[in-house]
Symmetry: C2
Subunit: 95 residues, 2 copies
């Protein structure tokens, strides 16, 4: 099963490192503990909506943009997890 | 502040009612309690990634599609929350 918090954590970490910022800087700007932010980025903690808002604020990242990042990531994971389409086998069987 | 769980709940409810299904049907298919699903839809509970996956499964809704729904919704809320651009006032002042 695709686990949202893992994709969310990956997307947050990509945005933070893309800005060349440390966990310490962003956790301090978001007023969350460094350990907590690190756990969120590693997909080990589910951030509440309020804490996610604070982290996005610290990254100057609109929540809608983060959701697009995560949605694209999850769409790729869904494609990778999908079994090959049945139609494909039908075509081969009919050939 | 934009609160993700409220937009998530709205999007889940829209998808469920769009399928003409009841809270009872979907909560039973997702193996979550009816009260829990109702609280999630009203934006009162943060669903864990696992329970969100189960609810999406019960709705036959890929998580990526739900995230797109929610992202579009949040983008509109961000636009509505934005103060009028400063440029606009400059143009008036300069006229």
């Amino acid at each position: 099963m695709i686990v949202l918090r893992q994709h969310l954590g990956d997307a947050l970490r990509r945005r933070r490192t893309g800005q060349g910022r440390t966990l310490r800087e962003v956790s301090s700007a978001a007023r969350v503990s460094l350990g907590y932010l690190s756990e969120v980025e590693r997909g080990q903690k589910e951030p509440s909506s309020e804490l996610l808002g604070a982290i996005c604020g610290a990254l100057n990242l609109p929540l809608s943009v983060l959701l697009r990042d995560v949605g694209d990531d999850v769409a790729l994971a869904e494609l990778a997890a999908e079994p090959p389409p049945a139609r494909r086998r039908d075509v081969v069987a009919a050939a």
